[in-house]
Amino acid sequence: MSILARQFQRLPESSRSILLTAIYGLAGGLAAVSFELGINWVYLSTFVALSHRTLTVFLLGTLAVVVVCSLGGGWLMFRVDQNAAGSGIPQLKFAFWQDFGLVRMRTVLVKFCAGLLHVGGGMSLGREGPSVFIAGGVASELSGALGVPKQRRHRPAAAGAAAGLAAAFNTPLAAITFVLEEIVHDLNSPLVGSVILASVLGAFAVHAIIGKNPAFLLPQIEGATWRAYIGVPLASAFASVVGIAFQRATLRLRLFSKNWNGLPRWTHPLFGGLTVWMFGVAIFLWSGHLGVFGLGYDDLSALLHGESRGWSLPLSWARNGFPPWPATAGAAVVASSLRSFSSAPRPVAPLPASSAMSSRSPTMARPSLPLSG
C-alpha cells in the first residue's frame, strides 16, 4: 500500500482530491451495501426460515437466535472493542470533531459483525447508524492507506458517511443534507463537493448491486386537498411529540442501564432482545407478520397501504416504543444496550397525513430483497 500511497502523492493536488473522494465514495457505498446484504442474509436464514416451520420450532428457534445474537453482539462490543458500541452516528460525529475523522479498522470490523448479529438477529433497530459509521470508518482507514495523515481524515470520514447513507437507503440527496446538517454542522461547508461526489457514488453502488427502487412501498399520491394540508400540522405535531417522548424514554432507560451493575455489561443487550422477542412473537402469532424483528420495511409498506389494519397499530407500538408503553421494544432495546448495541432504534411514526391524501396504485419497492416471509 505504501507504493500506492506514494503514487497518489505524486498526482496534482486537485486531481488527487477528486480521485481520493471517488474512492472513499465507492468504498463507503460498497461497505454499506455489504452490511445490508449481510443483515438480510442473517434475517432470512433465521427468522424467515423459522417462520415456515412448526410453531414450537419457531418459538424455540427465534428465542435461541435472539439470545445468541444479543449476547454475541454484546460480547463483541464490551469485550473486543468498546469503541464500536452505540448507534454509530454520534460516535462518528465525535470522531469527526475530536479525532480529526480518525476511525480504527478494528472498530469498524467489530461494528460490522455486531451489527449483523443485532440487526439481522431480530433486534428492532435500524441499519442507518451502523451503515454511516462503517462507511465513514472504511473511508477513514482507506485514506490512511493512501497516505492521508491521521489529522486530516475529516474529508474521508464525511465522504464515507454520505456514501454509506446514500447506499443504505438509496437516498443520495438525504445523505448530502444529513452529513452537512448532522455531522459537519454547516450547510455551507467546504466539504460539500466531496460529500456530493461520494453520495452519488454510494447511490451508484447500491443501484448496481441491489437496484434503484425505493426503500418501501407507498401508495401513489396524486395530490393533496386543502383538508389534507390542514391535517398535516396536527399530524406533524402529534408525531413530533411522540418522537420527543420516545427520545426521553430511551435516554432515561439508557442511563438506568448504564448505571446498573447487577450483571456484566455485555449481557445487558439480552434484556432488550428478550423484550423484542416477546413483542415479536405476540405480533407474529396474532397477525402472521414478522415486522417487529429486523428491519420490517415490507410490513411498513403494507401498513402505509392500509392493509391489515388490525395489526398495524400494535406493530407500530411494539416497533417504536410509543406511549403509553414507555418500556416497549424500541426504547428497551437501546436502554438495555447502554452503549452496547450497534444501532439506534428508528423512531418511525405512522404517516397520518398520507391517509388524508388520495391514493392510487402502489409504487414498487426493492423486490430483490424480501425482508419478510
Binding site: G86, S87, P90, K93, F94, W97, Q98, R155, F169, N170, T171, L173, A174, T177, F178, E181, E182, H185, D186, L187, P190, L191, P214, A215, F216, L218, Q220, I221, E222, A224, A228, Y229, V232, P233, A235, S236, A237, A239, S240, V241, V242, G243, I244, F246, Q247, L251, R254, L255, K258, R339, A344, P347, V348, A349, P350, L351, A353, S354, M357, T363
Partner: protein, 197 residues
C-alpha cells in the same frame, strides 16, 4: 415519519429529503416541508439538544467543547468552561519551603492563592521569588475573577484589564479553575486549525 425524525434528529432538510427519496413521491414534498416546520418548532421548544447529542452528553462527550464556532459572535457566546483550566496549580501555603517547591516544580507566572478554600489573591512569580530572597511574606495581588456562567466574550474583557492576563474562575465563592490570555489565544488557534479541516 418526517416530522418524527425531524423532532428527534433536528435535521429538517434531511427529514424532508429522506422520506421523499424513500418513497419516490414528489407530491409529498409540500406536506413534508410543512411537517418539518412544525416539528422543528416543537422540538426546539421541548428539547435542548437532538438525540445524538444527548447520547454523547450522557457519555460525557459535550460537543460544544470540540465543535468550532461558526463565527466570532458564536465564539464569544461560548461558555468560558469550554477553554478554562480546571486543574490549576494552587498555592495553599505561603511558607517559604512550600513556595520554593512550587516555584521549582512549575514555570507559571502567576498562581491563585487559596486559604480555607476561599480565594485569597494572586501570587506573581516575581513577587514570590523576591519575597523568598528578602526573607519576607509575599504580597498578594487582587485576583481578577469570573464566574463559570460567563461567556468567552465577557471573560476576554476581564482578562484585558486583569494584571498579567490572569483570572480565577469561581464556582460560588470557591475557586474552581483559572483562565489566562494564553488559554484564550491557544483555543482560538486550535479552532482556526480545525475549521480549515
Amino acid at each position: 415519519m418526517s416530522a418524527c425524525l425531524s423532532a428527534v434528529v433536528r435535521a429538517p432538510f434531511t427529514s424532508i429529503m429522506i422520506v421523499f427519496e424513500m418513497t419516490h413521491q414528489f407530491s409529498l414534498v409540500p406536506a413534508l416541508m410543512l411537517g418539518a416546520l412544525v416539528s422543528e418548532a416543537i422540538s426546539r421548544g421541548l428539547t435542548t439538544h437532538n438525540f445524538y447529542d444527548e447520547v454523547l452528553a450522557q457519555d460525557g462527550n459535550v460537543l460544544v467543547h470540540v465543535i468550532p464556532p461558526r463565527d466570532l459572535r458564536s465564539w464569544q457566546a461560548y461558555p468560558v468552561s469550554a477553554i478554562a483550566n480546571f486543574r490549576p496549580v494552587v498555592v495553599n501555603n505561603l511558607a517559604p519551603e512550600n513556595l520554593r517547591a512550587v516555584l521549582k516544580k512549575n514555570q507559571f507566572k502567576r498562581f491563585p492563592v487559596v486559604e480555607c478554600e476561599l480565594l485569597a489573591g494572586c501570587l506573581a512569580r516575581t513577587e514570590a521569588a523576591a519575597a523568598l530572597a528578602e526573607n519576607r511574606a509575599p504580597v498578594l495581588e487582587k485576583a481578577a475573577v469570573c464566574k463559570r456562567s460567563h461567556t468567552i466574550g465577557e471573560v476576554a474583557r476581564i482578562l484585558i484589564e486583569a494584571p498579567g492576563g490572569f483570572a480565577v474562575l469561581l464556582a460560588g465563592d470557591k475557586p474552581a479553575g483559572i483562565i489566562t490570555l494564553h488559554d484564550l489565544l491557544r483555543a482560538q488557534e486550535t479552532l482556526a486549525v480545525r475549521s480549515t479541516h
